[in-house]
């Protein structure tokens, strides 16, 4: 009895040690970034990566914000509409593909799924051609459109798979009650979709905010998103390297996605594991 308890605590200890090691390993880059962002340039060139700042200074953060704040708002102007529109259309698509099936809807869904596997690079040329024809080249609206279209495959997949587990009888009952297509969506289906809406919002927000390729290709100058601005900042070859500014700017670029996870993360896990909806 005694020895078995000791064995358990020993194996527990080993597990916790391994987990702790993994946590530290994952945290190292973040720690380095945070420490560096609060150091002076002289401190950075003299000390090592993990040393504590000799003088803690926020100058890197101030400079970084001055440089990237305009692009930060660009990113918001791109991300918020793109996320909302792609989620809304995804919900509508999923609703139709699971509850109002039409001839060929399965094939349609299958083809739509290809969109999830298309590498970004393959759509660059056709997308820029289309944006040019539409007169949206190098505009925020154009970039929003590209993100919405590219995201539809994912959002449709999310909503369709969620709605497939919702009993058909709900829609039938509502139709007999006299409700139409949009009334059913608005009054019955959407109110029960909170988990999957959250999953969709987080997923799309992360994808679009972190996107670099579409941003660098389909925008220019002052309309660029923060990821592109960050790259430009880090890659400047003139003057001394200001690593503290680079690190602070990178932190600023990463903060919104972090915030979204903190606020809506519990829905994310719940939504991914949501199976049957009890009627």
């Amino acid at each position: 009895m005694h020895s078995s308890a000791a064995k358990i605590s020993l194996s527990r200890l080993a597990i916790h040690a391994v987990l702790l090691g993994a946590v530290l390993l994952y945290l190292v880059p973040l720690v380095v970034m945070l420490l560096t962002s609060f150091k002076t340039p002289e401190d950075i060139s003299s000390g090592n990566l993990l040393s504590w700042p000799a003088v803690v200074t926020g100058i890197g953060w101030v400079k970084a914000w001055e440089t990237v704040s305009g692009y930060f708002w660009n990113s918001i102007m791109i991300t918020v509409p793109a996320v909302l529109i792609s989620t809304a259309i995804g919900a509508l698509n999923g609703y139709v593909l699971s509850m109002w099936r039409f001839r060929g809807s399965q094939l349609f869904f299958g083809l739509l799924l290809f969109g999830c596997f298309l590498p970004f690079q393959t759509v660059l040329l056709p997308a820029s051609f289309t944006l040019g024809k539409l007169g949206l080249a190098s505009t925020t609206g154009g970039l929003v459109l590209v993100h919405v279209v590219y995201g539809l495959a994912f959002t449709t997949l999310f909503f369709r798979n969620f709605y497939v587990s919702v009993p058909d009888a709900l829609v039938k009952a509502a139709r007999l009650d006299g409700a139409g297509f949009f009334t059913i969506l608005r009054r019955i289906i959407l109110p029960m979709s909170t988990p999957i809406i959250m999953v969709c919002l987080i997923w799309q927000f992360t994808q679009i905010w972190n996107d670099f390729l579409f941003g660098v290709v389909f925008s220019s100058g002052d309309s660029q998103p923060i990821t592109v601005a960050l790259n430009n900042l880090v890659n400047t070859s003139t003057g001394a390297k200001e690593y503290n500014v680079d690190m602070a700017a990178a932190m600023i670029a990463g903060l919104p996605t972090l915030l979204v996870y903190v606020v809506a993360g519990k829905y994310f896990v719940r939504g991914l594991t949501a199976g049957a909806v009890k009627g």
Binding site: P167, A173, D177, I188, K278
Partner: protein
């Protein structure tokens, strides 16, 4: 309150696929309770969805109150339906669930409140109105689903296996309640079930379906006593009807079925039948309760001695299994009979209740024999 008539209703999910519904033809009067019964996959739920307008028919017509509704959308047919899964709107309270259809139809709020109160009282769910469906037990959810249907006062109620998700005890209770409700409201009802007890107890009319075809349409008594074919005979009744393969012989113009229990033989007189039955493969159908224990000689019924192989005391009855013509036969006897496995029992059959089916097609074979001729036959049997 309405009549319902189905005229040659056909349904197919595409050319080349087998028909889901074939030439469905039936009509019920105002206030009648129609049961659609059959094994799963027989098309009964499809037929119900077609009546509701949730699926389109490919041929024929559906008439409610003599008005063709085949092309109408579900909301214009004035039908309410209770689903097997109840289909309560999960994010709405019980009150909102009941109100939903009334609100959509733009009923004034005062009238809605009155209607909800009436239905809640009728179904005794007043104390549940503020709850969400997930907070209700299965039986309570079932009541709410009924309440939602009752609130609209539609022309027609459709019930799609509404009791099949309840446990056995609750099912029996709700069955009685359902019947009470129908006696009180007298609304025309179509009720789908695969449970033959529900079919027998609830219905004014029963339509037994198989493979998209109505096998028989009639009152529960007609279905039970006078089944149109072997399928109907086997589907209705519990324990089910015994089907014994027999050879027929003809003697003095009368048909005799030959039974063999291994211990004894018996010639069961069947009455005067058309020529040509003898020599054919024939199935003899007899219900377990139509086999009785012989009380000795002299009551005139033909009998046979057979060895008891299994006994199942169910409480009200004693089910005894014997073998006749190499087929297991169930007899429903009085519970006070003492018999053990291996005993020999004297069993008697009521020839007037025996049915004959064609072995190949399962079609019922007319005996052309009224009771008179059977009695005649029995007299003849006795005199031998």
């Amino acid at each position: 309150m309405a009549t319902l008539e189905l005229r040659n209703v056909n349904k197919t999910y595409g050319s080349g696929l087998p028909d889901t519904l074939k030439d469905i033809q039936l009509s019920i009067r105002d206030g009648e309770f129609l049961i659609l019964v059959g094994p799963s996959g027989c098309g009964k739920s499809t037929l119900m969805n077609c009546i509701a307008g949730l699926e389109n028919i490919t041929g024929g017509a559906i008439l409610i109150d003599d008005q063709d509704v085949s092309g109408m959308s579900p909301k214009d047919r004035d039908i309410a339906m209770v689903f097997q899964s109840y289909a309560l709107y999960p994010t709405m309270s019980v009150r909102e669930n009941i109100e939903f259809g009334l609100k959509i139809r733009k009923m004034p709020q005062a009238a809605i409140d009155e209607e909800v109160a009436r239905v809640a009282k009728l179904l005794q769910i007043e104390h549940l109105l503020a709850r969400k469906p997930a907070q209700l037990s299965g039986g309570q959810q079932q009541r709410v689903a009924m309440g939602r249907a009752l609130a609209r006062r539609p022309k027609l109620y459709l019930f799609d296996e509404p009791l099949s998700n309840l446990d056995a005890k609750l099912r029996v209770e709700m069955r009685t309640e359902m019947k009470l409700m129908h006696q009180r409201l007298k609304t025309t009802t179509v009720y789908v079930t695969h449970d033959q007890i529900e079919a027998m107890t609830l219905g004014d009319k029963v339509a037994v379906m198989k493979d998209g075809i109505i096998q028989q349409f009639g009152t529960p008594q007609q279905i039970y006593n006078d089944p149109a074919n072997q399928f109907v005979a086997s589907f209705i009744g519990s324990p089910p009807m015994n089907f014994i393969p027999v050879r027929l012989a003809r003697q003095d113009g009368r048909l005799l079925a030959l039974l063999d229990s291994g211990q004894a033989r018996c010639e069961l007189p069947l009455g005067v039948a058309a020529e040509g039955l003898e020599g054919r493969e024939i199935i003899l159908g007899i219900r377990p309760e139509q086999i009785t224990q012989g009380t000795g000689e002299g009551n005139g019924l033909p009998g046979i001695r057979a060895e008891v192989q299994v006994t199942e005391p169910t409480g009200p009855d004693l089910l005894v299994f014997v073998t006749l013509n190499q087929t297991k036969v169930c007899c429903r006897l009085a519970p006070d009979i003492t018999c053990r496995v291996g005993d020999s029992l004297n069993l008697q059959f009521d020839p007037a209740r025996v049915l004959l089916f064609d072995a190949a097609s399962g079609e019922r074979l007319g005996l052309g024999a009224g009771n008179a001729s059977v009695k005649d036959n029995v007299a003849h049997f006795k005199s031998r």
